[in-house]
Subunit: 309 residues, 4 copies
């Protein structure tokens, strides 16, 4: 097995010279301003070590990666009844598609497309005001990342809201079927704010530990969620974590992962490590070009694919 | 870790009493006649042992499970250029849907839906007649299963052909876009016959070893395909192997698997075992009800989920 | 040619005994309370006579019939540039479908499905506040119907708004593509209120005269709109006026018509008459069951089909 | 009213100089060879006169215009039970779309899209061999056109067959649902040959008389079909006769019409005339560019719109 630190440093060094980096997300004005030439990586191992390279200490907008954490919390809050309102299947459509909702009576295919994540945000409102729900999300992230400085970028949250007509359409559409059960603006408020949380690669790799270690912060550390729940969330990451590029990510990388249009990806190597990469340039499916490439190389070099026997 | 033999026997004993078994596939007359009250399981381990229970020695029609083996062969034959004609993404539609083909210029989403498997069958015709292509498929299966008795059930093949109007529609549709490149009847001939191959659970578990052991017949055995190719096929099984129930199978079972409407499922626990289950009753997505349940229990008892850390 | 008065009276008498009347619209609470056992008909002829039978003096919610009048006004206001934001083709989908919008970049297929009518309402807001736009609509209706008592049923308007999540979804979705250009709430406000206008059969038949007489209130009367515009609106009524039942209405009745989920239909026999029928029970496409039947019988008896040679 | 002969000659003279003519159909090799610079027009009036201009004596492939005549015959053969297997609604999709068939259990939306016309061809096979069905179609056309020279262009028929993979897909797909009831190759054989019938504008205008005159060859001539049936076929032409450009044709021209990808259009002015135009260049929906324009100008000049009052 090669040395992890060398592998991480080689990847960061090599990718820093890449010209082809995709396009920065343009539909949220605040994200469009992020300089494309950045790359960060952080790997937190079973031994509790965190190895970083590149721009691993620069905060970025986690966007859809937040969906993993809100799903964890919503399952803790309302349990498996969540699955009556959102499916577990890959969508076969773009992340903001509304077509599938019409065919399936307002029930989104999975919690990682926008519609599904809005349902999860709505579930967070059970017995709670939007402010309380957001507080719970932040507290959870600070706890699992062991970092009290994590916060919401309010400028990004406003930017999301002002341009979020498609998400507003999705939410109202689901409200028509009773799949959204609280005030539409409240559910969207939670959603827009969770997407605007800013984290560094280091913070994100730390936050993903409980998914890599069957619900614990390390193989023998404190339990955050039940082992089965952690495994199931990881399964959803593998089948649905990269929008309509999920199959390709599983094919190339072989690890459960969740991407965000801010250019970040959280990936986990079960039992071995939690990994976070970030580079703002996206491919046509909305996934980080360099981030995917970095994870492909890391998984190959370390033989971390879950499909390796 | 519990004893594998006990686990397998307990599962077989318990499932034999189940009343809820779904429906036997009705659209192929020969399959509709298979008695629903059967269940078989076979597990071939890294140590080379095969543990069986129930009707593990009864041959059944492997149907779509054949798609795993023809994909392996077609990639060996024409390499990665196959991916120009078939995608790697979950479909979000039923196994025989034609809708997606219209939106995506005749290119099927993945090699495990019917349309994709017909493209793979077409690729097997590169420089070969249908008879030769089928010969190659049978030879491969006999080799990896180490059993020369595996054969095609001609009555099932005829039954497929006579009722295969939707598959004929799919093939002609793709031919219109140049995605099918050989004679449509020839490609369908290969496809209908590969689906009609009859195997027992024991044979199928043996045949799946190369996927469980990174391309080898055992961790230290002879190499069948490159390690990376084996991992990639396993990735496709996890994201696309159970039609529109793939996400749910990953969520519940956590293993790469491929189901067939004959009621069989081949699943692999990378590095640990190749597993085959069979029970003819299907759920609404076309996956074996008891087969899925058996694998869920086996994976849980043995902690074989690829997502366990 | 039979006597029009007798024909109208016979139809009303016969239909009053019908048992099969469909279902009253249920998704707007105020409409769901309308007693199903009502039927009205009014025919205004080229000679300026208005013949009525049944409940022709009972006001009902005109709902989507309003779309004909707002289209007329919006074309007067912004002219043919409206057609850059809404198409002229039948939809092939339900009246409140959102699927087509995704495939066609937010541009609704025609001005008579909900999405298209919301675009028309948005066009009415060019240089005008919602209140002014609604004022213009009411003034126009009172003028063409020659009746100052026509008004908006505010209770219905509130009911529309409270349950209008799908329409809110449509409007936001189109706003994301820039097809809706003003404040979404304002456009919806105009739309919800125009649908809540209450009219009698007599008033509606009078209001439709300009469509029957090539833009004039009678063959030699004052001009309301250009002849070509009146013909074109009539063409849209024929191809798109009954949602996904438009083809069947043209097939059976052979007249341009526009239905509303309040149970009303406005139909025109070019050069001969403007006709309004009303009965609250709807078929599965949202068109009045008895209304369609009455028009079929009237057109047949009077040989008014536009396809008769 | 202007003089018809002058109007026709002016249109032909003006259009002969047009540069923008669209594209000749490319997917059938024999059609792709037709020189684009041709234009013909023929008008047969209620008085029995036929006025022609341009290339009105040049035979062209009538293609989908044949669907009007086979519908007439199939309704004569099996009556209204045809409507259990094909709808009457505009499709909202391209002429060769297969998407709608999946959503609606193999029943095409109307008899003028390809799938619907193949069902009509299948209905012609009730109690008849393909050769007999084609004989009946030719006999009918020769009778209503009063011209025994009308024939099938076998080279075009072969060309259709060799490239007809999408139509073969449609037919097999419908066969899977039992909507096609005879041998798929037979139904396609009839369909490919009916499309390959060659006619001149003069012959086609003559053939359309029974639709213009409520089922008779002239207002007082011999009856071909019942008046109601003629009106209903005309209604379908108006709502569905120009594929996904039907609404626009009704909007601009205001006459029932049926186009073919050979560049011909048959249109009728009920009670007044049967009109045929031909020019091989097509718009993106598959309708003749100059043909549509000629009909728009003719209908406007003669005030023939069915919506004029």
């Amino acid at each position: 097995m090669p040395d992890l630190t060398s592998v991480v440093e080689d990847i960061a060094a090599d990718l820093s010279t890449r010209v082809e980096r995709g396009q920065v997300a343009s539909y949220i004005p605040m994200l469009a301003q992020v300089p494309i030439g950045q790359f960060g990586i952080a790997v937190t191992t079973a031994e509790g070590e965190t190895i970083t390279a590149g721009d691993a200490a620069v905060p970025f907008s986690i966007q859809s990666i937040s969906k993993v954490f809100t799903l964890t919390l919503a399952l803790g809050k309302i349990g498996d009844e969540l699955w009556a309102r959102v499916g577990k299947e890959p969508s076969g459509n773009a992340f903001n598609s509304i077509v599938q909702l019409e065919a399936e009576r307002g029930i989104p295919r999975n919690p990682f497309i926008n519609a599904g994540a809005i349902v999860v945000a709505d579930a967070m409102l059970a017995g709670a005001q939007p402010r309380e729900a957001l507080g719970a999300i932040l507290r959870f992230l600070r706890f699992v990342a062991d970092d009290e400085t994590i916060t919401i970028d309010e400028a990004v949250a406003r930017s999301e809201k002002e341009t979020g007509f498609r998400n507003t359409a999705l939410a109202n559409y689901m409200r028509a079927f009773g799949v959204i059960q609280h005030n539409v603006e409240h559910a969207l408020g939670v959603y827009f704010h969770q997407c605007a949380i800013a984290m560094t690669c280091r913070q994100l790799a730390m936050a993903g530990r409980y998914l890599a270690f069957s619900g614990r912060l390390s193989p023998s550390g404190p339990r955050v969620v039940a082992a089965e729940r952690a495994r199931r969330i990881a399964a959803l990451m593998l089948t649905c974590g990269h929008y309509d590029g999920s199959g390709d990510f599983a094919f190339r990388v072989g690890l459960p992962g969740k991407s965000g249009v801010g250019g970040g990806i959280l990936a986990i190597a079960p039992g071995k490590a939690s990994v976070s990469v970030w580079s703002p340039g996206l491919d046509r499916h909305g996934n980080s070009v360099l981030g995917s490439l970095a994870l492909e190389r890391l998984a190959k070099a370390m033989r971390w694919s879950v499909f390796a026997g």
